[in-house]
Each structure stands twice: as structure tokens, then as C-alpha cells.
């Protein structure tokens, strides 16, 4: 075998063949999946979208009444599908159309159209906006429904079609686009849809009033003439950024804006006059709440929901940041539906909106009235950090921060100081401590106490009325956990990369999100273990507030699917566990959470926000106990205390027995103060004051919330209690009642 020259060409040939095979396999393998679901054969398209049709001519350009009930009248202008709604109680006419001569063509048409949309074209990364007026070659077929109408829309040039259903229900108007009715050609794909975006729009400062946006606890944008002060509109995805598609910029200097947790928006034309309140009933998982103050593009104030069917994203092609921008292949599978409630008189305000939403949730049995126990003290939420880990030379080093016996000591001391009603959440109770262990084993960390110790603690707490809550998080995963493998359990982004989140911390640098399937599995396993260990309280973080879409196998799972799977999991867990707490849950989690933690009292500080209002608190009060964010980290403890009184929020603390200096080199290094001895006095005092202010309101619903003057707020409850809060440095006299500076006053009105 001396002559081995023949080897070279053979090897080369084999390599080339292999390469071709791989490439071919890739093309072929993915070629099948690229044939999209829901695409329509050409012949059908032909019949749905005829090339030429004498469109538009037979559509009338005048408003005609199409439906009426005891509260409302509905008028329709066929040509643009724009509507007018007359509120019979006040005679006030709401219109979805603004006739404007000054704006440019595209905005003019947008304002005149009942329906506008964005579409993607092949190999164009950015969506193009169009509307019914701009599209001349279209057909609209109208059918009347019982209390409204149905319009079948065909845009022939774009080969896009859908149905729009509009109907009256009591004092409400329901607007719907069924998902099945959407037709798309092969070239153009639907990006997003606006329905009646200009319903209730006003020009500059012509109408007094405000727009309501669900930012944080709720915020108002006054309808004053801004004279072009604002350049950027409010646009926020309901339930926050979808990290399955978008990359969140997490720089160390910026706090991300608060997320929209309730799919609502509203508009008030003169407080006490007329109002419009929109609830996004369907499609909220892929929608944005949009509010344009005047001066942003147009001189009009308008607010609506934008429904996203597809989003564009960066598909990376190299390990560095290079890539191409493409749009999603599959369309989001949800129907689109907004329910507008027309408010008038006293209800035409954010208070009226909160009440409307409250009764809406009650009707859907998402909220259940809780009268509360009379003569109990208010609850105090105490998160206790058990153990954390820092890097060590040979292995991670466990730092016990609060052992079981130390916690018992703390609770005893608190009781002595008059704090008896404590909700205890034990963080980092599990083997390995708080950070880096998720999904954590259902096993007590032995450095904190034996199983017996934990059981003794749980039993004594249960006896006192509030069980011990074990902290858990079914959303994040760590590679250090034995129950997690990034390859099989982590969620994948739309670009098929694994969804990772940098922590910028020194011990555990990356966390993952579990796929919805892994979460369900985990919850099931854990539920069994909790039951067998007789756990009677659980506090769930992240799973109630984080929502993302993912690639499950080869198909895309939308956020609505993730939410459904989370809901099922939480349902099972809350059925099994007597006391179930949730941190900052989105609205769809409300049925499961017994108490709600970490409810924001603030808004995100957008420059156009003129006032923050406690909308969320007004909805929850009297139905669910809710707690403020941790009091440890307030920079203005006094003002924050007043804010808790104003919003009826119960206090919460994040405490440890050891000094928090020990956490400096752990992932919890943002906990810069937590030692019980540092907080003992201040907590006792805060609790005493809050108990005094809020005890009379236990179980009551908030009836009204009004600003008497700058820095003076009056909150009325339905049991006759009124709470006056004075943020100013001066005494405030109100109808013979004096409110001390930086203080409050509780008044009971006899009826």
C-alpha cells in the first residue's frame, strides 16, 4: 500500500458529498415547515379578492342608525366603517371619525377610517400602515346583527380581508374581529390592527378632561394644549415586553418602565361629564395600549389598543450581533375584541372606570367580594431571606441569613411590639439557598433548621392564623439546579436561540426562563411534594408577572398559550394549597391569588403623565388584600407611608436576621438594608400608624378618590369611612377637620 495518492481525491469527494447532503437536508427539512399554516390556495384567493370590482360606489357616505338599545344608539358610515355612538342618558355623541384638513394624507385617512392596519411585504423588514380610506380597491359587505352590524372587508390590492363585528350590549359597545375571518394572500401579511383608534379623540385643549392609561397603579394624561411639548406617544405592550421576541435593554442605570398588568384604557371628556372606558377582552396577550397626547404627529389626543398579529425581529446569523430583520411567519391566533363602556355623570372619571372594571371582573367571577373580618388588625407582609450563596475558592459558600429559630425570635418580638397579623414568606428556605437554585428542590436547607424546626414554625404560624408561605418561582431556571437543563427545559426565542437573561451579578451570571411545558411539569411535581410535606402556604414570584412566547418544537407558541398553561398550573396549585400569594400578578392570575403582593403605587414617570391614580387599588380594595412594595427601599419613607394610606396598601418588608452587609457578594446585593435590628423600631411605628389609618377600611370598597387641592387627597369608602391625606407641610382644614402636615385624618360619617 505504498501508493496512497488515491486517498486524497476520495476524501475530498466524500467531504463535498457530505456538505451537499447537509445543506440539502437543511433546505428540505425546513422547507416543509416553511409551508405556513393557514395559507390559502391561489384559487380561493382569486375568488375572495377579484382583481377589479366596482367598490365603494354603493357604500353610503352618511351616518345611518344601525342599532339602538335603552342606553345607546349606534350610527354607521359605510364608506369608512366609522361609527358614532349616542349616549341616550346625556345625549352625548361619541365619534370614531375626525375630519381634519390640516394633517398629511396618511394621518387624515387614518383619522377618518374605522379600521387601520399594518402589513408586511415580502423581504421588507418594516411594516407599512394603511387604512380603509386609503385603500380604494376594496369591497365592504354589510350584514346586520341583532344589535349591531357585521362588515366583511376585502382589500383587493393587498389581498387582505377580515370581518368586523360591532354590537351594543346595554351601556357597552363590543367591537370584534374573529381570527378565522382574517384572510391573507401570499405576498402581504397582516402586521397589526387598529379598530376605531380615534373613538373619543379630542383636539389639543378643546375639551377638558384626560386620558387614562394603565401604567403602574394607573395614570392620567390631561387634555391640555401641549404646544408640541411631547414628541413620543405612550405605547406599552400589555403584560410587558415579550422576551420571546424582543431583547430587553437592561442597562445598569435605568429602571425599566412598569408593565401594563390590566388591559384597559380610557378617555374622559370633562370629569363628571362623559367618559369612555375600553377593556381589551380578546387579543390582549399581543396588544399594545397606545395613547397619543396632542402634538405627537397630530394635534389630537387619542388612545386605543393596537393588536399585533406579527412582529418583526432580528434573526442573528453570527455569534456577534449581525443578522437580518424578518417578521414572524405565523400569525398570533387570538381573536380581537374591545368592550367599550360609556360613562356619564359622576362615573365619567377614573373612579368610574375602576368601578366599571371591578364589576366587570366580579361578573366574570375573577374577583370575589371579601368583606374581611371585623376587628382584626391589618396584615403586614414580611419576606424573610433564609440563605444565600457567594463564590468561594472551592465551592459556593452558603450564608445563612435567617435561621428558623431566629425567625421565631423575630416573630415573637414583633408580637410583643403589637404586630400580630404577619404574612411570612420564607425566601431561600430550600436546599442551596435563594439564588441559583431554581427550580429548587422541595427540601429545607439544613443550615437554617431541621425539618422538625420548619414544621414547628409552620404549625405555630398556622395556629396564629397565617400559615408559613414558602417562596417559589416556576419561571426562572438556573444551570446550577439539578432539576434543570438548559437544552431541554429552557424556553427558546423566536430566533430559536435559548432565552437567557443576564443578571450582571458575580455569583450567577445568567438565568433562563423555563418553557411553559417545563413550568407545568414542575408545578405538578412540586404540588405533589408540597402536599406530602403538608405545606400550607406558597408565594409565587415571576410566574404571575412574566409572560413570553416561545418556540415549542417547530411551531410557535403565542403568549396566550403560555398564559393558558400558566393559568392551568396555578389553578391546580391554588386548589391544593390553602394560602396562595402572588407577586405583582397580571389580571389573568387574579382568580388564583388569595392575596396580592408588590402592587405598584407609582407610575413610570413619563413626561406627559400629569397625575398618578390608584386605579388598581380601587379595583382590588374590598376584594383582595394587596401589599405595597418593600418599605425597606423607599427613599422618602414618610411620603411613601402617606401614599400607602392613600392607596389602602398594606405594608411589606424584606428582612433578615443578619446584617445585609453579608449579602454584598451575592446575587442579592441589591438588598442593601434588611437586618431586623435596623428595622424593628421603624417597622413597629409604621405599622402602628397604618393600622390606625387602614383598620377602619378593612373589607370596605373604595367609593371615591379625589384631590381636594395640591397635595391633599380624600378617599371615601363604602362603609362611611373617609381618609384625608395631607402631603404638604401645612395644616389643612377641611369642613372643620384639621389634617396635620405630612399626616392624615380618618373620619367616620354616620349614615
Amino acid at each position: 500500500m505504498r501508493n496512497s495518492k488515491w486517498i486524497k481525491p476520495v476524501v475530498t469527494a466524500v467531504i463535498i458529498a457530505a456538505a451537499i447532503a447537509i445543506v440539502y437536508a437543511l433546505f428540505f427539512g425546513n422547507g416543509r415547515s416553511s409551508r405556513e399554516t393557514g395559507a390559502i390556495p391561489n384559487s380561493e384567493l382569486q375568488s375572495e379578492f377579484p382583481d377589479h370590482e366596482e367598490a365603494g360606489s354603493k357604500l353610503s357616505s352618511d351616518y345611518r342608525k344601525v342599532a339602538e338599545n335603552e342606553h345607546l344608539e349606534l350610527y354607521l358610515k359605510e364608506q369608512s366603517l366609522s361609527i358614532q355612538v349616542k349616549d341616550k342618558r346625556s345625549g352625548y355623541m361619541w365619534s370614531s371619525e375626525i375630519i381634519d384638513t390640516e394633517s398629511n394624507e396618511s394621518w387624515k385617512n387614518f383619522m377618518a377610517s374605522g379600521l387601520s392596519l399594518d402589513y408586511f411585504e415580502e423581504s421588507k423588514p418594516n411594516a407599512t400602515r394603511t387604512d380603509l380610506v386609503s385603500q380604494a380597491n376594496k369591497s365592504i359587505t354589510l350584514e346586520s346583527l341583532e344589535k349591531g352590524f357585521k362588515a366583511i372587508i376585502r382589500l383587493n390590492d393587498l389581498k387582505l380581508g377580515m370581518e368586523l363585528h360591532v354590537s351594543l350590549e346595554k351601556d357597552q359597545l363590543v367591537v370584534r374581529i374573529p381570527q378565522q375571518s382574517i384572510l391573507e394572500g401570499n405576498k402581504t401579511k397582516l402586521g397589526s390592527v387598529y379598530v376605531y383608534p380615534f373613538l373619543g379623540a379630542t383636539k389639543a385643549g378643546e375639551v377638558d378632561g384626560y386620558m387614562f392609561i394603565p401604567d403602574g397603579s394607573g395614570a392620567l394624561i390631561r387634555l391640555a394644549d401641549n404646544k408640541g411639548k411631547f414628541k413620543i406617544p405612550y405605547e406599552a405592550k400589555i403584560y410587558g415586553t415579550n422576551e420571546g421576541i424582543e431583547t430587553v435593554n437592561r442597562d445598569i442605570f435605568t429602571n425599566p418602565p412598569l408593565t401594563v398588568q390590566y388591559p384597559v384604557f380610557g378617555m374622559v371628556h370633562a370629569e363628571g361629564g362623559n367618559g369612555l372606558f375600553g377593556i381589551v377582552e380578546n387579543g390582549q396577550y399581543n396588544a399594545k395600549i397606545v395613547a397619543y397626547p396632542n402634538g405627537v404627529n397630530t394635534p389630537y389626543n387619542w388612545t386605543t389598543a393596537q393588536f399585533l398579529s406579527r412582529e418583526s425581529y432580528l434573526q442573528p446569523t453570527s455569534r456577534s450581533l449581525g443578522g437580518v430583520i424578518v417578521y414572524e411567519k405565523a400569525r398570533n391566533p387570538e381573536d380581537i375584541q374591545i368592550r367599550y363602556t360609556f360613562l356619564s355623570g359622576k362615573d365619567a372619571s377614573y373612579v368610574g372606570m375602576a368601578k366599571t372594571y371591578q364589576s366587570y371582573l366580579e361578573e366574570k367571577s375573577i374577583l370575589v367580594r371579601d368583606e374581611g373580618k371585623a376587628d382584626t388588625a391589618i396584615p403586614l407582609q414580611m419576606d424573610v431571606l433564609g440563605a444565600e450563596t457567594e463564590n468561594g475558592m472551592f465551592a459556593k459558600r452558603l450564608i445563612p441569613m435567617t435561621t428558623v429559630s431566629q425567625l421565631e425570635e423575630m416573630l415573637g418580638d414583633m408580637k410583643k411590639n403589637g404586630i400580630g397579623n404577619v404574612n411570612v414568606v420564607y425566601k431561600g428556605w430550600n436546599e442551596g439557598g435563594y439564588s441559583g437554585t431554581n427550580p429548587s428542590p422541595v427540601k429545607y436547607e439544613s443550615a437554617l433548621g431541621s425539618k422538625k424546626d420548619f414544621e414547628r414554625l409552620a404549625a405555630s404560624l398556622r395556629e396564629s392564623g397565617n400559615p408559613l408561605h414558602l417562596y417559589s418561582d416556576f419561571t426562572t431556571g438556573n444551570e446550577a439546579s439539578k432539576r434543570f437543563s438548559a437544552q431541554t427545559d429552557a424556553a427558546k426565542k423566536i430566533d430559536k436561540s435559548i432565552l437567557t437573561i443576564p443578571t450582571y451579578e458575580e455569583v450567577y451570571g445568567t438565568i433562563y426562563y423555563l418553557s411553559a411545558e417545563a413550568t407545568s411539569m414542575l408545578v405538578k411535581q412540586n404540588t405533589k411534594q408540597y402536599m406530602s410535606q403538608n405545606v400550607s402556604g406558597i408565594a409565587v414570584d415571576k410566574t404571575g408577572s412574566v409572560l413570553f412566547s416561545e418556540m415549542a418544537g417547530k411551531s410557535r407558541s403565542s403568549r396566550s398559550q403560555t398564559a393558558e398553561s400558566y393559568k392551568a398550573a396555578m389553578q391546580g396549585l391554588s386548589d391544593a394549597i390553602p394560602s396562595f400569594l402572588m407577586y405583582a400578578p397580571n389580571d389573568y392570575m387574579l382568580p388564583y391569588a388569595d392575596q396580592v403582593l408588590d402592587v405598584p403605587m407609582e407610575s413610570s414617570q413619563y413626561i406627559y403623565i400629569s397625575e398618578t391614580v390608584p386605579f388598581v387599588q380601587m379595583v382590588l380594595k374590598g376584594y383582595k388584600d394587596y401589599f405595597a412594595p418593600y418599605s425597606n427601599f423607599f427613599a422618602n419613607p414618610q411620603a411613601s407611608l402617606l401614599r400607602m394610606i392613600e392607596t389602602g396598601s398594606y405594608p411589606s418588608y424584606y428582612l433578615t436576621h443578619e446584617t445585609s452587609y453579608k449579602l454584598k457578594h451575592t446575587n442579592s446585593n441589591d438588598v442593601y438594608t434588611s437586618a431586623y435590628k435596623d428595622w424593628r423600631d421603624s417597622m413597629t411605628e409604621t405599622y402602628r400608624i397604618l393600622d390606625e389609618a387602614l383598620k377602619p377600611t378593612i373589607g370596605a370598597k373604595m367609593q371615591n378618590h379625589e384631590r381636594l387641592s395640591d397635595g391633599i387627597v380624600k378617599v371615601s369608602y363604602d362603609n362611611g369611612v373617609e381618609v384625608l391625606v395631607n402631603y404638604t407641610n401645612r395644616d389643612y382644614l377641611w369642613e372643620g377637620v384639621s389634617v396635620p402636615p405630612k399626616g392624615f385624618q380618618v373620619i367616620e360619617v354616620n349614615r
Partner: protein, 679 residues
């Protein structure tokens, strides 16, 4: 009917109530606030300042590209409204007072008000600094100095201006590398003041060393950066701020132009302005909107503010240009791009910190103890508070408590002083017992020897000892002490007499590492700069053994082509035995370092240095003996070895980079193929 049964409650929660904020100041700040620890690392803290609104317009006037702001003693706000060619004056509530210099100014980019109320505008369009008197008319003009000292070709383009009590004017001229232009009150050029230094990087030094004159002339001129802004404090000290001068960006000059601030301050690369508040705290702003507040010593108190995230939230900036602070410690920042002024109010927490700092700065250490511990209650990671508290304890002679706090604040000097006191006290009380113990031990030794001689009761012990020491491995290890007494003999022993084995050498390598780790953990606080939680085993192993391995390999390879006699195993063994001084004495030094103070620090540094030099000498002898070289050959060999080590690591690096590139390429191709296939 209303029945009032609520109680009036005075809130006693917060001790500091002098915040005069009538309007509601309560907001979740859109930015994160940090302070710094002793390593100048950012540490989270409560929000220090909250955005409290903005001034978008003054009456009917709008700003256009405002680039500087100043607040005078009467709390009036002066804005250099650059593109509108004027200075706008407002009161502390943002109400319009007047406009200055509308007809005169062209491009006012800097504004200053002296103690008499005269307004100075630095105009980069007119190339003048214009002074306006009490009647708001032009009082004086400072134009380009005629003096030859100014420099014939130096441009004069005033950007910022400040004035001292004597009326001397300090002007920052754009691109002036000589420093700040100093003029007398009547416009005479006095000279340049406080210039920055140019950086002499290693590359520049190398270029200077190697290049010919002609080549050097072609090089980009290495000029020092020119200052960006300037201010003056109550005592008349001048401060400048410079973009891109790293830790020395902020300078406080004494009269002779010497920088009094530390050279390692936390910095931002895009500084645009600074302001010195009445209390002497230094406030800086960067273009991206990061605001720093330093105390008078240059320690960072707070970092906050953030670049605009495209969502229009308050407290964020697009192009922040100027900063000023009023008497109520409210911060005002002008944004060139947003054309507004944003206002930040100190929070209750910040008032607390300022209060403690004030007491501390004035030397009321004991009085500052209470405020500092309150700050610590609110933030355990506030190192400045730990230091303040420690100083207070020290003053109160609570040395043990002081030491605890000094350790947290990593204040070596304070620790040393407190420790000295404790050590002194201990010595006073216990010195006599130490002597007793010494005497007893000495007597015991004599006794034991005497007993052994007389009766031989310790025979078995001695035999055991001899047995242990005669074991080959132990003998090989113990041979290390020979290198202290007679290194030549030692290396001869390695080479010719097989006095050591590979096993013993390996054991010593492990011991070496163990001692290294021991030193990391147990060196006395004053001499220890290691954060235990930052130690990772693999990293430390690499740190210790990578250079040693490189040395051994390079030395062996170099020697084989250089007629060296040494075998690989001999280099391996010789190297660690050459470390004998470290192996034998390092633990002792580490232990002793725990009872030393700064006064006797030289003991530690001196002995540490001796060990290093000693090891180096032994290594030299090792190379010489093992390879049987002359001195000249040895030197040559060592130099080549060092060079070889450099080349080896370079090759490793290049291979790594290349492989990475190849991987990247293959990955990109596959990725692209997959995506194209899908689209």
C-alpha cells in the same frame, strides 16, 4: 352628621423634616441610584434625588439649545440660551425675571455670576467673555489677550467662565491645551492655569525610544486634553472637569495649580459640566445624563440619572449640557436637545446623608455618630458611613468597634491606628505574662534535655523521629532547607546525588500553592487587598502554575538548543527547590503580618521583598548549576527563556483567536444557511 373620631397623628418616623416640599414629591425614579464602595465599585442605594418636574418654557420664551446654567447666591437661575443669543434669568420657582444680552450676544455657551451680581457670558461666536453690570448693560469685554505670553497662534474661543473674589477671570477656551486662561479684572492676561497632563502610554514611550526624529515628527502630536468646564467653590479654589481624563477628570487646584483631588475618582467619559455646591460637594453631569455627586474628598456619594430610553420619561436626558445646584440642594440640569431644565429634589435619605457628612466634615465625629448609624440602618453598604462611624468610635476610644467598622470600610490607616491602641493596651497588660511563658518554656527545655541525658525516657520518641526523618520521601522534602544554607550544594544534590525525587518536588509545588492560598486568606488586614469571595480555585491555580509551567517548558527548550545539560525533570525539581525561601518563611511572615500596624509595616514589606529577591537569586543559581553554565551563559539563557515565555503565550493567544474565528465563520455559514432555508 359627621362624627369625628380619627386622631391627629404626628409622624415621628423620619427625623429629618426640614425638606420644604409643599408639592407632592413622590416618585419611582426611572433611574437606578448607586453609591460606591471602598474599591470604587458601584453599590445600589436608595434613590438620592427624585425628578421634581421640568421647566420647559419661561413665560412665553422657549429655550433653544441651552448649554449652561448657573445659580447665584440669591437662588436665581441663569441659563445660557445659546441659539436664542441670550441669557435668561428666572427665579427659583421657574418664573421669568429678565433677559440679558439679547442684542449683544451671539453664541453664549457659558454663564457665571460673581458675588457682586455681575453676569459673565462666555460667547464662542464673538470670541469674547462679556460682563454685564447691575443695570444689565455691558460693563466690560474680555477679548483675546494681546500678550505674547498667550501664544501667537493660540485661538481664543471662550466656552466656560468663572470668576474669583478678587475679580480674576478664568476662561476655558476651546481646544486650549495649555490650561485655563487666567485674566485679571481689567482684562490683562495673567497666564495659563492648571493644565492637564498628556498621557505617556507605553506605546508612546516605545515610539519615542525607537523612532527617528523624522518619524517622531510625523506622529500624531500627543497633546493633553483641554478642560470642558470650570467652577469655583466658596473658598476660592478652582475646579475643572475634562472629558476623557479618566480618574483625574475632576480637578481641584490650589493656587499653584496643583490638583488636590485623588487621581482615581470614579468617572464618566462624557463629562460636560460641574458645579460646586455651598457645602463643597461636587456635582457633575455627563452628556448621557449620568449625574455624580462627590463629597469634598472626591468620594462618590451618588450616581443617578440615565440616558433617554426613547420612552420620554422624566429624569432622563438626551444631551445634558449644564448642571447647577440651589441652596435647597435641588439640582437643575439643562438639556441641549430637549430644550428644557429638569429639576431633582433630594430625598429624605439624601438629607440624612448630607447632614451626617456636614457634621463629619466639620470634625464633629462624635456628633456624627448618630446620623451615620441612621444612614447605615437605611443602607448597610454605605462605606462612607462605615468610615464615619469608625472614626466616631475611634474618637470615643471604642477601638474594638472602630476596628470592625474600619474593616468594612477597608480603611487601612484607621484600622492601623485603632489596632495600635488595642495592641498597645494588650502589651501593657500582658507583656509580663509573655515573658513568664518564655522563661517557662526555656526552663522546660533544659529540664527535658537533662532528663533525657540522665534517664533516657524519651528514647522511643527520638527513635520515632529518626525513623520518620529517614524515610526517603521525608528526606527528599526536608532537603529543601539545604538551599537556605548552601544553594550550590543543594543543586548539586539535585543533579548528581538524587537527593530529591519527582514526588517530593510535586509535593512542594502543592505546598507552594497551599501557602499561596494561606497568604491570600490570612495575611493581616493592613497588607491584604484580596476580596475572599472573588477567589476562584481554577483562576488561582492558573495564576500560580501557568507562569511556572511556562518557565519550565521555555527554560528546558531554550537550554536544549543552548548546550544546557539539564534534563526536563531537573528543571522541574530545581525550580521549586529554588523557591525554598518562600516555602520556609512565607507562612511566618503571613502570621506576623496580623499583629503589625502601619508603623511597623516596613517589617512586612522588607521581608517580603527579601524573599522575592532570594528566590530570584536561587533561580539564577539553579539555571547555572543544572545546565552547567557560566554566569554570562546563565544570564543569556534566562533572558532568552523570558523571551520564549512571551512568544509561547503569544502563540497560544493567536491560536485561540484563529480557532475562534474559524468557529465563528463556520457557525455563521450554518446559521445563515438554516435561516435562508426557512425564509
Amino acid at each position: 352628621m359627621k362624627n369625628i373620631n380619627g386622631k391627629v397623628l404626628l409622624l415621628v418616623l423620619a427625623v429629618f423634616l426640614w425638606l420644604d416640599s409643599s408639592s407632592m414629591v413622590l416618585a419611582e425614579a426611572p433611574y437606578k441610584t448607586y453609591t460606591e464602595d471602598h474599591n470604587r465599585q458601584f453599590v445600589r442605594t436608595q434613590d438620592a434625588y427624585h425628578p421634581a418636574g421640568s421647566i420647559e418654557k419661561v413665560g412665553d420664551l422657549e429655550f433653544s439649545g441651552p448649554s449652561d446654567i448657573y445659580i447665584d447666591a440669591r437662588n436665581r437661575i441663569y441659563v445660557a440660551d445659546t441659539n436664542n443669543h441670550r441669557i435668561v434669568v428666572l427665579d427659583d420657582e421657574g418664573q421669568f425675571i429678565r433677559v440679558i444680552g439679547e442684542e449683544v450676544l451671539q453664541t453664549p455657551v457659558g454663564v457665571f455670576v460673581d458675588h457682586q451680581g455681575d453676569v459673565y457670558a462666555a460667547d464662542s461666536g464673538l470670541n469674547q467673555v462679556v460682563k454685564f453690570g447691575a443695570d444689565h448693560a455691558v460693563k466690560q469685554i474680555f477679548a483675546r489677550p494681546e500678550s505674547p505670553l498667550f501664544g501667537k497662534n493660540n485661538p481664543f474661543k471662550p466656552m466656560k467662565v468663572t470668576v474669583d473674589k478678587r475679580g480674576n477671570v478664568y476662561i476655558i477656551s476651546e481646544g486650549s491645551t495649555n490650561g485655563v486662561v487666567q485674566m485679571s479684572s481689567n482684562g490683562d492676561f495673567l497666564g495659563y492655569f492648571g493644565s492637564n497632563e498628556s498621557k505617556a502610554s507605553f506605546r508612546i514611550m516605545l515610539e519615542r525610544f525607537l523612532f527617528t526624529d523624522a518619524q517622531r515628527a510625523k506622529l500624531f502630536k500627543n497633546v493633553p486634553p483641554s478642560a470642558t468646564s470650570i467652577d469655583i467653590d466658596q473658598k476660592g479654589l478652582i475646579y475643572t472637569i475634562t472629558q476623557g481624563d479618566e480618574g483625574r477628570s475632576v480637578k481641584r487646584f490650589n493656587i499653584s495649580g496643583f490638583n488636590l483631588l485623588p487621581a482615581d475618582m470614579t468617572f464618566h467619559p462624557l463629562y460636560t459640566d460641574l458645579f460646586i455646591s455651598k457645602s463643597g460637594n461636587i456635582y457633575t453631569i455627563s452628556q448621557t445624563g449620568i449625574i455624580f455627586e462627590y463629597d469634598t474628598e472626591g468620594n462618590l456619594l451618588f450616581s443617578f440619572g440615565a440616558p433617554d430610553d426613547g420612552k420620554s420619561r422624566i429624569g432622563m436626558f438626551i444631551n445634558a449640557a449644564g448642571i447647577a445646584v440651589d441652596a435647597g440642594e435641588n439640582i437643575y440640569v439643562v438639556d441641549k436637545e430637549r430644550n428644557n431644565i429638569q429639576i431633582f429634589k433630594p430625598t429624605e435619605f439624601t438629607s440624612m446623608v448630607h447632614h451626617a457628612l456636614e457634621l463629619y466634615k466639620e470634625g464633629h465625629y462624635v456628633k456624627s455618630r448618630e446620623p451615620w448609624s441612621q444612614v447605615l440602618n437605611k443602607n448597610n453598604l454605605f462605606d462612607l458611613a462605615h468610615k464615619g462611624l469608625a472614626d466616631a468610635y475611634y474618637k470615643q476610644q471604642l477601638y474594638a468597634e472602630a476596628i470592625e467598622e474600619y474593616v468594612i470600610a477597608n480603611d487601612k490607616e484607621g484600622y492601623s491606628n485603632a489596632f495600635w491602641e488595642i495592641r498597645n493596651r494588650w502589651l501593657q497588660n500582658n507583656l509580663i505574662y509573655v515573658l513568664y511563658v518564655g522563661i517557662i518554656l526555656f526552663v522546660l527545655r533544659i529540664l527535658v534535655r537533662w532528663l533525657q541525658r540522665k534517664t533516657g525516657v524519651f528514647h522511643s520518641v527520638i527513635r520515632l523521629k529518626e525513623q520518620v526523618f529517614s524515610a526517603a520521601f521525608i528526606r527528599h522534602v526536608m532537603f529543601v532547607s539545604r538551599f537556605i544554607k548552601n544553594p550550590f550544594e543543594g543543586f548539586y544534590g539535585i543533579k548528581e546525588e538524587r537527593k530529591v525525587s519527582l514526588w517530593s518536588a510535586t509535593f512542594l509545588y502543592v505546598l507552594f500553592f497551599a501557602e499561596y492560598v494561606f497568604a491570600l486568606y490570612y495575611t493581616g488586614f493592613i497588607f491584604n487587598n484580596v476580596e475572599p469571595s472573588s477567589l476562584i480555585l481554577m483562576k488561582e491555580i492558573a495564576k500560580v502554575f501557568a507562569p511556572i509551567a511556562l518557565w519550565i517548558i521555555a527554560n528546558y527548550l531554550v537550554s536544549t538548543i543552548n548546550e544546557g545539560e539539564g534534563k526536563f525533570s531537573e528543571v522541574y525539581k530545581g525550580t521549586i527547590y529554588a523557591m525554598a525561601p518562600y516555602l520556609l518563611f512565607s507562612p511566618i511572615i503571613v502570621i506576623v503580618s496580623n499583629v503589625l500596624t502601619n508603623n511597623d509595616a516596613f517589617l512586612y514589606t522588607f521581608s517580603s521583598n527579601i524573599i522575592v529577591v532570594w528566590c530570584a537569586v536561587l533561580l539564577f543559581i539553579m539555571v547555572k548549576e543544572v545546565h552547567d553554565y557560566t554566569v554570562r551563559e546563565t544570564i543569556r539563557n534566562i533572558l532568552i527563556t523570558l523571551f520564549g515565555m512571551l512568544i509561547l503565550s503569544l502563540v497560544a493567544f493567536i491560536v485561540y483567536v484563529l480557532l475562534d474565528q474559524v468557529f465563528d465563520f463556520v457557525y455563521s455559514v450554518i446559521r445563515e444557511l438554516m435561516i435562508r432555508a426557512e425564509l
